[in-house]
Every structure is written in C-alpha cells, then in structure tokens.
C-alpha cells in the first residue's frame, strides 16, 4: 500500500489522551448502584479431596450477601470450555470436566472453591477466612515427568493415567535424513513455564437486568464475542440476551484470550442475587489462576552434514499442561510443530508430543504461543550444530536459509510461507551491529578475562491468525464502516485491542482511503451489543485480518460514495478521484464534493442514483487465505561477569520484517515490548512449583518482570517484504519481538561462555547457573 498522508506516518496515538490523564475506564473503574464485591476462596492444596465445606460463619458475617460453593452451582453453570479437543486432531484426547468451583476434589493451588459476595471488598475477604473446608491432601504432581512415572497419583480419576493427549506431525522422510547424516546433533531443550502478567489483572463486573432478561458482563478480555457465546452456553442463556463488554483492557499477552471460571460465576451470581457484582483479581490470584505459558521439555535431534547442511529434525517432547484445559490449551504446542523448520530448507521433520495433566494451572496462549518454543529450539540448535561441528553459527544459518526466490514456500510441516528475504534482514542487522568489529572486541576482552557474547536469532513466525480451517474457533474477522450524515466515520471492528493501537492505525487507513480527516473517525470495539460478531485480538492478527476486513468494508462504502458522487457530478464512477479530501471528476477539483456532502445526500435519500439504497454503511467478513510469516534477525551483545555470572545486555539490534508498516511509532513500540518479554524469558522469568505443588514464585517478590534498567537502548530497523495474503501487505508485529529475542539472548550468553566449553544452558540464565558453569572448567 503506498504511503500517503496518514499510512506510513509516525502518528501519535488517538487512544492516549484518556490513558495519560487517568480518564480511561478499566473493569475496576466501573461503578454500578448496589454493587456487591466478590472474593474467591482458592485451594491451598495442589491435590486434595474436599470432604466438606462449612460456610455458616461466613454467611453470618455482617455485610455478606451470599456464599456459593461448587455444590451450589454445579447444576446451573456448565464446564469451562476448551475449543481444541477435536479427537481427529488429538486422537484419544481426554477432556476432563472443568467446573467453575471445585466439587469433590481440588487439582491445583488456586483452584476456586467458593465465592463470597459482600457489600465491601474488605468484608468479602474477611468472610473467606471464615469458610471451613475439610481437605484430605493427596500426593501432588509438579512435572510431566512425574505425571508419567509409574505409580503416579491420578489427577482425573475417570482415566487410569495422566496422559492428557498426544499429537504428532511429520513431513518428508525423517529416517532417511538421519541415515544420510554425517552427524546427529542432540540436545534436551526446556521451555520453562512463564506467567503472562499483564499489568492489569483480570476482572469481571456482571449486571442482570430482569426486565429485559439481559446479562451485561464487563470483562478484561481479548475476545468479547467468543466469550459471549461461551458464557451463554455455560449459563444456558440465549446468546442475544448476553452482552459482553471489554472496556479498557490493561494488556493481555494471550492470557485474556480465554474463558475463565469467574466470568461465568459472576454472571450467575448477578442473576440470582439480583444485584450487580464485581470481582477484581489480585496479583497473587493472577499468578495462580490465570493461564501460564510454555512448559515443554523435549529432546531434539538434528541430522546434519559435515558442512552444516541440516537434513532433518526430530523433536520428542512432553508438555505439562496443568490440571485442566483452558480455551486453547491443547492447540498451543501444535503451533510449535508447524514452525519447527524455522527459516531453513530442511523438510524432513517429526514432532511427537505427549501432554501430561499435572497439579498446576493450565497452560495456554502466552505471547507467541507455541512459536517461541519452535524458534528457540531451532535457533538454539543451529548454534549447537555450529559448536559441535566447529562452524560459524552465521554460516550455518546462511547455508540453510530458504532463498528469497523460493516464496511462496511450502515447509516440511506443510505450511506455506507467504514471502521473505531472510538474508536481507540478516545483512542489515550485521551492518548495524558492525559485526566484524564486535568479534574483534570479543577476542580482545577474552584476553583480559572478560566474556562478551554475540548471539543471533534469524527467526520466522506464523501470524495473522488465521484461516478458519486452521483455527479452533474461527479465524476470520469482521468490520462495519459507516458514514454519518455529517460525514463522520464510525468503524466497528471485531478485534479487541488492548494496547496495540488499532484506534490509531485503523483510523489512518480510513483517513487515506475515504479522504477524511483522521479526527473525524472513531473506531469502536469490544462491545458485543454494538459490534457485529468478531473473533478478537491475538496471534498478531488484528491488523492483518481485522484491518483487512475493515479495508474491504471501506472499499464497499467508497464504491457507493463514488457512485453517488458520479451521479451528482454527472460523470462516470471511473472518472471520480479523491483530491484534497474531495471527490471530484479527474481534472476538475473545484467542483468536488466532500465525504460529508455525499453522506448527507445518501441519508436524505432524494438525489441518489437509481437503484441505490439510502444510507452509508457496509460490512465485511474477511476470511484470510493464509497465515502471514513475519521474520527478521535479532543480534544480542552481552557481557557475563566472570565473578558473579551476572549478564549485562550491552547492545540489542533487531531488524524485523512485518511487511508494510502503517505506523512506524506503533511498530517500534510493539517490537520493544516484545523484546523485553523475550528477554524476561531468557534471563529472569520462571514459574516454579515445588514438590507439594505450591507455587514458590507467586508474586512480584519472587517472579521477576524485566525493569527499565535491565535494557540498553534497542537498535531497530526494518526490511519490508509485503505479504501477498492481504491487500495492505502487512504481516503483524505483536509477537515478533518476543519470538526473536529469547534465542538471541540465550545464544549470546552461551557464546560468551564458549571459552568454558559451554554448549547449552537451560533458561532462565540466572547468574548462579552461569557462575557454576564457569567454576566447572
């Protein structure tokens, strides 16, 4: 798409004025008359039988309106849904019932056991202390390995083992590749469990209007429409009597792409109490009972020729998915499988996955969702190959890159990369880094006993989720574009941005497309009563899929506007152009009409061309023909303190290709934030459960989110390889930074420790781990 007056410009965000003045309304900012506050009693045990619950004392506390337990709601609230349990995809998958409040047994610490509604949030908390639960503790399982061990306690007693599901993918002839290989390079790779931690925790407000039999549900969610459908099913309400509103949402990173117990529970309580209810998740609750990410451990084998050519890959992996499924739990590791070939030409690939039930919170989509695992695995293994064969990791990459002329390119896992030029991104990054000088500096510092490391990640990811055929719950997106009689434009979009800035980027597209001032455009999202059905924001899809739906709807509006303009100007539609925000006959701008003038005609309905409907609003539902495949090269330069093992990131270079760019300022912001999250995984973050199933990293005191001083100034650049999948040529950029950065940091740290003979270290790269490795040699 050509850069015109708005698209391609560094336009400051239109959503910001309310956010920087404290005038935005997140869920916790919603006030309703007679609002009750809900607190949730959660299991302190990872695995225990519930022999009884006594709520009398809590019920009798002044200010307490109601206490509900699993027995109270088990017949009126359906199970928490999972959309990825198709036995064709997951043969033999076990799908346990997932109650909103536990009955009979608890299966992880933090599982909801009872809920209190009170006139005041402090009183609701007081009441939790008065609920007596008779638990009979059982042995707990805190890893996939333990879940599969002989004699392991059974988490779901409907079955006789803890195997949740298996899944595999294969392409080419893997056995032949390994037979032909000069070397088999193997490594066990761990992808530690992470906690998404958006700064706003989850929260729900529910209000029931008996006169209309309507449930209004405000939730901090990424998927208001999918949530509405699921809530209506769980509560046995007609879907058109349920309204879900995603108000201002304070970050999601995948963890709000879900349907949670509290959403249905609050909906139920609002209805039966006849009073609105609010629940705001505490951070400790968020650690325990909002989905986690990653948690795969697997053995990778690469079949390699002497010269570093990769012939094939085998990945045998266990996923620890927790005690129950959330919305997409089983689907996440399958995305790992799709992207195992990375940027490289080998097509012989096999992944065999076993997923285990454990006494932990469910895993699900966390920024990148399955793809960071694939990218970390292949990018780390490229460096292991270089280490074992004494090759330059850059040369191994170049030797195996898919060439820029090979696109569209079908991988061994049968996905079709849309477009790419991996060498161009790499070369650009090397130039910015001044790579040769860095290697010289590294050599000099080593002489002084200082350990500089340079690490690469030449990633490709799968985005723009996605064709419906490949998605558990629809992959299309919708938009309505309407022009009011006065020429103001309102866009309704099915995506549900929560920080990504589509109120700005979408307005940029409309401003240019319809010839209207950007201040005359409003983007509405997140209200199911206002917006036609949509899928939501996740998987770097909002612009690539939702933006495309909007561009198509806008095109329909524009066609109509041009037809009316041609009629009014007594010309032909093909001769109408937009000049200076006026629709005019080519070459006669002085007699042009503004969008407002034409919109007024459309609404007055008198001067319309024959057969033209009055009004000016069009919708479009866009089904993407393919995913998009952003790519890039990240280079990290780190120094490891030889005395302490501390890692300092000295430089971070990121050259990303997300196709065409609508707003460079926003793209930079997405990349910065993504890098920070990936660095978090590489260096700091890890959700640890002890043997009794207690989470020992359950607060910001013990789980480190990256802080401002952990980073140098990022050095960013782009290459631009438009995607052919959508008319804008955009690919998506929400997850690129996270996917690209983890392996770049890991490879840099391990490169720094090369003099110590270090070949691989599992994440996170805590100082003590590094120090110990340096002591061993």
């Amino acid at each position: 798409m050509p850069v015109s007056k708005s698209v391609g410009a560094r336009i400051k965000r239109r959503e910001d004025p309310r956010l920087i003045q404290g005038l935005a309304h997140y869920v916790d900012d919603i006030k309703l008359p007679n609002l009750l506050h809900v607190a949730i009693l959660r299991s302190p045990y990872a695995h225990a039988r519930i022999n009884g619950i006594n709520t009398d004392a809590a019920q009798n506390l002044s200010g307490v309106k109601s206490v509900v337990t699993g027995d109270d709601v088990k017949d009126v609230i359906g199970g928490i849904p999972c959309a990825a349990t198709d036995p064709e995809g997951f043969p033999g998958i076990k799908v346990p019932h997932h109650p909103v409040l536990a009955t009979g047994k608890v299966r992880f610490v933090g599982e909801p056991v009872a809920a209190v509604a009170a006139t005041d949030a402090y009183i609701a908390q007081d009441a939790l202390d008065l609920i007596e639960v008779d638990y009979e503790p059982l042995d707990a399982i805190n890893s996939a390995e333990a879940a599969f061990a002989d004699g392991a306690p059974i988490i779901h007693e409907d079955w006789d083992d803890n195997m949740a599901f298996t899944w595999s993918i294969a392409g080419g002839d893997v056995d032949a590749a390994f037979a032909e290989a000069d070397h088999v390079v193997s490594q066990r790779i761990d992808h530690q469990r992470l906690v998404p931690n958006p700064m706003e925790t989850r929260g729900v407000v529910a209000q029931y209007l008996p006169g209309k039999d309507q449930l209004n549900l405000w939730s901090s969610t990424q998927i208001p429409h999918l949530l509405r459908t699921q809530i209506s099913v769980m509560l046995s309400m007609a879907e058109n009597h349920v309204r879900v509103i995603a108000p201002e949402v304070g970050g999601g990173f995948g963890c709000k792409l879900n349907v949670y117990a509290e959403e249905a529970l609050l909906g139920h309580m609002a209805k039966y109490l006849g009073q609105p209810v609010k629940w705001i998740e505490g951070r400790r609750e968020n650690f325990l009972h909002t989905i986690h990410g990653r948690d795969q451990t697997g053995d990778v084998e690469l079949a390699v020729k002497d010269d570093g050519t990769i012939l094939g890959l085998r990945y045998t992996v266990s996923a620890d998915v927790g005690a129950y499924y959330q919305l997409l739990t089983p689907a996440i590791p399958t995305l790992t499988g799709l992207m195992l070939c990375g940027s490289y030409t080998f097509k012989n690939v096999q992944m065999n996955l076993k997923a285990a039930f454990t006494n932990k919170m469910a895993t699900d989509a966390y920024r990148g969702a399955g793809r960071p695992e694939a990218t970390y695995l292949i990018e780390r293994m490229i460096d292991v190959v270089a280490h074992d064969l004494d090759l330059d990791p850059l040369e191994v990459r170049r030797k195996n890159f898919i060439g820029k002329d090979a696109f569209p390119y079908e991988t061994g896992t049968a996905v079709a990369y849309d477009s790419g030029d991996y060498t161009a991104a790499l070369d650009k990054a090397l130039k910015i880094a001044d790579y040769d000088a860095l290697r010289e500096q590294q050599a000099e510092l080593r002489e002084e006993g200082r350990y500089l490391g340079i690490g690469f990640s030449t990633y490709v990811e799968i985005c723009g989720m996605g064709p419906s055929a490949a998605m558990p719950a629809g992959g299309w997106e919708s938009s309505t574009v309407r022009v009011d009689p006065t020429g103001k434009v309102t866009v309704l979009t099915g995506v549900s941005p929560h920080g990504q800035g589509q109120e700005t980027t979408f307005a940029q597209l409309i401003a240019d497309g319809l010839g209207v001032d950007i201040d005359d455009i409003r983007i509405i999202h997140g209200d199911t009563d206002t917006v036609q059905y949509g899928i939501g924001t996740f998987g770097s899809r909002a612009t690539a899929v939702g933006g495309t739906a909007m561009v198509h709807a806008m095109g329909k509006v524009k066609d109509k506007v041009i037809n009316i303009a041609a009629h009014l100007l007594e010309s032909n539609p093909q001769d109408i152009v937009i000049e200076d925000d006026k629709y005019c006959v080519r070459g006669a701008p002085e007699s042009g009409l503004t969008l407002g003038e034409i919109a007024m005609v459309a609404h007055v309905g008198v001067e319309l061309p024959e057969g033209t409907e009055p009004g000016l609003a069009e919708s479009h539902f866009f089904e993407p023909p393919n995913f998009t495949y952003p790519f890039g090269t990240h280079i990290a330069v780190v120094e490891v303190d030889a005395d302490t093992g501390e890692v300092e990131i000295q430089r971070y270079i990121a050259v990303d290709d997300c196709g065409n760019i609508i707003n460079p300022l926003i793209v930079e912001g997405q990349v910065h934030g993504g890098i920070a999250q990936g660095v978090g995984q590489a260096l700091y973050e890890e959700a640890i459960y002890d043997e009794s199933g207690q989470m020992i990293t359950g607060s910001f005191m013990d789980y480190a989110l990256p802080k401002a001083h952990n980073f140098p100034r990022f050095e960013l650049a782009n290459t631009v390889t438009p995607s052919p999948v959508n008319p804008m040529g955009v690919k998506g950029v929400g997850e690129a930074g996270t996917i690209g950065s983890t392996p770049a940091i890991a490879n840099a740290v391990i490169d720094a420790l090369k003099p110590f003979g270090v070949r691989h270290i599992d994440l996170p790269l805590r100082p003590e781990k590094l120090w110990k490795l340096m002591q061993e040699t």
Binding site: K12, R13, L19, G22, L23, R283, G669, F711, F714
Partner: protein, 154 residues
C-alpha cells in the same frame, strides 16, 4: 476515623476505616480511578501518587496515615485543560500501550524530574525502577521523560 486531605487542590474530609489503603480511598471514596492497583507487594508502582510532594505507592499507605496531607494523583497533573509536559511526552513518544501502568509511571517520572531536572538515560531507567511496564520495553518511556525534561528546563 475522620480524616482531612487535600486531593488535587481540593480540601475534603471523610470518615474511613483504619484498614483502608490510600489507593482504595482515592479510587472508591474520593472517586478518582486513574490510580491503579497492579500488585499487593509494593513492586509494580501502578498505584503511585504524590503525598506531600513525595511519590509513594498508595497501596502501602493507610488512608488514615494521609490525614492532613496533600495528595496529587494523575487526574491532578493537567492544568486548565493543558497536559502536563510529562503527559505530553508520553503521548508524543508513544510511552504507553495498554496504559495501565501509565498513571503511576508518570507520577514516578514527575518525582524524578523534580529532583533531577536533566536526568541522563541511566538516571531515568533507575528513576522508574519502581514501576513495572509489561508492554513498552521502557524505551519509549525513557524518550517521553527526556522529552518532558527538555520541555520543562527550556
């Protein structure tokens, strides 16, 4: 307990429970919801407000401790409809995405620039270490503070 406070220049008096946290007092009693709660452990900084000229984490202060105090929240920074230079910097430099940490982050930046009007990049990164942001990777926040510093010292 009865307490008297001046919030964003307005003198007010309320009756509060001793256990009420200052952040809940501001949000629920005074009705200023721009100050957010992001954790229970005084680490995220989303609840930062100015208390008698000092930036504090209002989730770790009792409302009764603020008796007699002057408090400035995010809602009190813009004057006469004009954004404070720090707010302007956050807007110009794309210093926010989801916006949840932003009010606290702006308060932390406010304190920093009062004490060190021309901070270098390292000063800024240290100055906001009590505020977590999960969206931006902090770089545009640093830019925003630099923007404000330039504007305020011009």
């Amino acid at each position: 307990m009865k307490i008297e406070v001046t919030v964003n220049g307005e003198h007010q008096s309320y009756d509060v429970e001793p256990r009420m946290l200052l952040v809940h007092f501001l949000r629920e009693v005074v009705g200023l919801t721009g100050t957010h709660v992001g954790c229970e452990t005084s680490l995220c900084g989303a609840c930062s407000v100015m208390l008698n000229g000092d930036a504090v984490k209002s989730c770790t202060v009792l409302a009764v401790q603020a008796d007699g105090a002057e408090i400035t929240t995010i809602e009190g920074l813009a004057q006469n409809g004009e954004l404070h230079p720090i707010q302007e910097g956050f807007w110009e430099c794309h210093g926010l995405q989801c916006g949840f940490c932003t009010p606290g982050m702006i308060i932390a930046a406010h304190q920093l620039l009062e004490r060190n009007p021309k901070p270098n990049e390292a000063d800024i990164r240290r100055g906001i270490e009590g505020n977590l942001c999960r969206c931006t990777g902090y770089q545009h926040i640093v830019d925003a503070v630099q923007y404000a510093s330039k504007k305020m010292t011009r």
